[in-house]
Symmetry: C2
Subunit: 242 residues, 2 copies
DNA sequence: CTGCCGGTTTGACACAGATCAAGGTGGCGC
DNA sequence: GCGCCACCTTGATCTGTGTCAAACCGGCAG
């Protein structure tokens, strides 16, 4: 097995304590989780779970990035989910998943055996409520993503993706406009429903227009945030009629 | 207001009793719901809820079809949800929705005021559990839809859509291969991320190939189901290696 | 019966993005 | 330090689908 064990962290000191599926749990409930959890680690590029494979565990991502993706017969691939720390993997009540889960960076999971977790879920409204909330958040994100996939141009798709990175980093840290791409060009293409060549060309275009400035292939800054926002195709603002 | 009142039906006799958000409720819980519910009706084409508008009610679709859709600045539109009887509208904990909800046929809703419903939700695990399950079902559907939008050709998109209709009708009734399109060409295009012209051309193509046979613009039969399945681009079967 | 109108079909053409192909770049093992 | 390999860039060309335009069909109001 490709499973490495990682040092145990108490739930109360866990970095994802307040955003994961356990976010609403009280001390007693955390104690129960603490007893049945285990950590699993995966190297960048490793599969965490294949489509159709029996789902023995459900997990929260503690650290790293994983992707959910679907593949057509002839190899065409579409990413359908991007998992960041605190996101949940697995569906209580189902024996399998209908997509592949792959570690994009090194990943650490906080895992529970599926059956005991399902029992706990039935008895612990704090967990099922949080799970419902997380599913609805993901559904909202999926609907934005559907608009992007169905109607946006390559330029708009990439601008939207970068804007997403900007927003996420400005939540976490201060307003440092220095960003790192968490995915390869190929993964970005899979995310956006494009080819890697088109992604590369659009990056070049943004660079030529002075909107982005790259220090190397993975790191860049946003020089013209207004232009970036404009390129996303989304409603620019909240009500200024021109 | 465009709200018509409809004759009251007891929850225990409700046609969507076993699939809607109330599916897991016991008699006592149904009594509570019965007291706070009201029916609202909308004519085909009417808006049920605009994006950003204050969400006063959450509802279950009792009868009819409604769509969820998102629009870009310049008018490009993408359907992001198709609501059939038993589906739920509204998000507990949010004051607004981020998409438009429109009645495609005449629609009857079973509605609850949002605030009281949220209180009930916090106290009634049977409701929150069912809501979570429904959100996760929708998420699964959204992920299939993302694969379609991002990677499938126009032909595959339309074949997949028709196959969806076939499956749904064969669940409900017997194996009658006589189907009715629940949407206009324009709505189908919005569903599939295409233009209405392309949808029309693909229908014509299927007709010319003898896969579909139309009695009029809205009604048809599937003459060659194997060819239809083949055209979806999905995994044809469960493991036969050729 | 006639004319209108929403929904649909069909055609001609344009173009965004896919595909195919050829390098370029940088990090890492030896 | 050399060479390999994964990742990325750029160019040339092709093609599926969008766009624009015209006409068709069927139902319904008058």
């Amino acid at each position: 097995m490709n499973v490495l064990l990682t040092e145990r962290v108490k739930c109360s000191e866990c970095p994802i304590r307040h955003r994961a599926v356990c976010a609403r749990c009280d001390e007693n409930e955390l104690d129960i989780l603490d007893q049945i959890k285990s950590y699993r680690s995966f190297k960048a590029g490793e599969a965490i779970q294949w489509r159709g494979e029996e789902l023995t565990h459900v997990s929260s991502v503690v650290a790293g990035i994983a992707t959910l993706s679907k593949t057509l017969d002839d190899g065409r691939m579409q990413m359908v989910g991007l998992l960041l720390p605190s996101d949940f993997i697995g569906r209580p009540g189902r024996e399998t998943l209908d997509f592949d889960v792959v570690a994009t960076s090194d990943v650490t999971l906080c895992s529970f055996e599926r059956k005991p977790f399902e029992r706990l879920l039935a008895e612990t409204p704090h967990i099922s409520q949080r799970l419902a909330e997380m599913a609805m958040d993901e559904l909202d994100a999926a609907r934005d993503w559907m608009l992007l996939l169905g109607r946006k141009t390559a330029r708009e798709k990439l601008a939207t993706f970068i804007q997403m990175l900007v927003q996420r980093s400005s939540i976490e840290g201060s307003h440092i406009p220095n960003l790192t791409l968490p995915l390869t060009r190929e993964d970005i293409a899979s995310f956006l429903g494009l080819t890697l060549e088109t992604v590369s060309r659009q990056f070049t275009q943004f660079r030529k227009e002075g909107i982005l400035e790259f220090s190397d292939r993975r790191n860049f800054t946003v020089n013209d945030h207004a232009a970036l926002l404009d390129a996303t195709g989304d409603d620019a603002d909240g009500g200024v009629i021109t």
